[in-house]
């Protein structure tokens, strides 16, 4: 279970999140939507402290941190609770595909080398990149790089997966394929997912809940059915309308 209470974030004087809270069940898949600048990336990056919140309480499984008093040790523990897939992949450029997937296991989790190698191979099979295992990230296409990104996130063995627009740098025809892969990988491992995405028509098929973020506040949340047809929030309706025009 993940419990977020009164989450505040700011950059300098610019307040971006104004005390957000929600509870997410183990294994639940949640999409975060909202207009550009709403604070979606900030929200998702606050959960692994890539952006340090100024206030708030976060519970993930057995770990509870208060961002006003968080210690370096707690930050380290918090980061072990989640893995992230980035919009621009952010693979380790000096490591091969294989090592990108191996490194969370060998360096961070201290899994014995032979066991880690075996599992890295399994992950590479799943993301269908076993024949590219010795290549470096920049030798791969965008779609292939993102599959490595997903593989690396799986190798972290964390209960929570955070994805910030994992498909928006890809060609449109690859988006569905990648989302199916994400769905497959997380179903298998019962992971909790929080995904920011603009590919709403596809994402709504794989999530249980949608959170609508607007100017740093949650204006609406519920099942995809509720968000698309149930909610009467005028700002949400306007946002969905503008999105449908864009598609």
């Amino acid at each position: 279970m993940i419990n977020i209470k009164n989450l505040h974030c700011q950059y300098g004087d610019l307040k971006v999140l104004h005390g957000i809270g929600t509870t997410i069940k183990k294994g639940e898949k949640v999409a975060v939507i909202g207009p550009s600048g709403a604070g979606k990336s900030t929200f998702i990056k606050a959960l692994n402290y890539l952006v340090p919140p100024t206030q708030g309480i976060l519970e993930i499984e057995d770990l509870k941190v208060d961002f006003e008093t968080i210690t370096p040790k707690e930050i380290q523990k918090l980061r072990r609770k989640s893995a992230m897939v980035f919009q621009q992949h952010e693979l380790f450029l000096n490591k091969t595909v294989f090592d990108n997937i191996l490194i969370p296991m060998t360096v961070v989790q201290n899994i014995p080398k032979d066991k880690a190698v075996e599992e890295a191979n399994e992950i590479l099979e799943k993301v269908d990149l076993i024949d590219k295992k010795d290549k470096y990230p920049l030798m791969l296409s965008g779609g292939e790089q993102q599959r490595v990104g997903i593989g690396r996130a799986i190798a972290v063995h964390a209960p929570l997966l955070l994805m910030d627009e994992p498909t928006s740098s890809l060609d449109p025809e690859l988006v569905g394929e990648l989302l199916s892969l994400i769905q497959l990988m997380i179903e298998e491992e019962q992971k909790t997912l929080i995904i920011v995405s603009h590919a709403l028509n596809l994402v709504k098929e794989i999530v249980d809940r949608i959170i609508f973020l607007y100017e740093g506040n949650i204006l609406a949340e519920g099942t995809p059915e509720y968000i698309f047809n149930g909610s009467r929030d005028p700002t949400l309706k306007k946002f969905l309308y503008s999105l449908s025009l864009a598609n």
């Binding site: 692994n48 402290y49 890539l50 380290q76 980061r79 072990r80 989640s82 893995a83 992230m84 980035f86 621009q88 952010e90 693979l91 380790f92 450029l93 000096n94 490591k95 490194i103 969370p104 360096v107 961070v108 989790q109 470096y136 920049l138 030798m139 690396r152 190798a155 972290v156 964390a158 955070l162």
Partner: protein, 222 residues
């Protein structure tokens, strides 16, 4: 007079032994400069107050004045105020000046390399749970070395040539040796052609090595 080819051939056995000294000076100065440059770039990256002002001044001073002036200042100037300084071997003075000079450049090369590592690499490392030490060791330093390496190999080339200013304070390196040989034999053209050829050959070998290293690194990444 003209160019005496037979005499020209006798120059090489005379001055080649001093190439050892030239290379010794260059390599020693290089290692010292490398250590200095790493310390300087760490201080500047972490913006350590006080030290930083001093380092800016040092870098500016050494990059904006002729190296011979720096050498004369330290070798001839300082002993007038601190006489004990005059006891130091000129070879050591030369190594120190060369190192101080090159370190100012190398520090900028190293700092630039670290600054050019994209923020996303740090974020990705943090996101998989790496500590700062692990991030530096496995991700940042290997990439920074790759970026800095061509510049750092450049420094050894420039130091190899730079050792020749040792002549001005009487360090017996290759240029001084050839100058002495020329004076002894009353021949100059053959001697200086020979010494030019030796410097040239050494630098060509180093440049080869440099592009070899660069190609290897580029092949590995993309």
């Amino acid at each position: 007079m003209g160019f005496k080819f037979n005499f020209f051939l006798t120059v090489f056995p005379e001055i080649l032994p001093f190439l050892k000294i030239t290379l010794f000076l260059a390599i020693t100065a290089y290692l010292l400069a490398l250590v200095l440059a790493i310390i300087i770039s760490v201080c500047r990256t972490f913006k350590i107050k006080g030290i930083n002002k001093f380092l800016d001044l040092y870098i500016s001073l050494f990059r904006s004045t002729p190296i011979v002036t720096q050498l004369f200042f330290i070798y001839f100037g300082i002993p007038q105020i601190i006489p004990a300084f005059g006891m130091i071997d000129e070879m050591i003075i030369l190594i120190i000046v060369l190192a101080l000079n090159e370190a100012a450049y190398m520090a900028e090369v190293i700092r630039g390399a670290f600054l050019s590592i994209p923020r996303g690499q740090y974020d990705a490392a943090k996101s998989i749970g790496m500590t700062t030490r692990e991030t530096l060791q496995h991700i940042v330093i290997p990439q920074a070395i790759r970026i800095a390496l061509p510049g750092l190999v450049n420094s050894i080339i420039s130091l190899t040539k730079g050792t020749s200013i040792g002549y001005t304070i009487g360090v017996l390196e290759m240029l001084t040796a050839s100058q002495l040989y020329g004076a002894r034999t009353y021949r100059t053209i053959e001697v200086y052609v020979a010494v030019l050829l030796i410097y040239w050959a050494i630098v060509l070998i180093m440049t080869r090595f440099q592009s070899g290293v660069e190609n290897r690194l580029n092949r590995r990444y993309s």
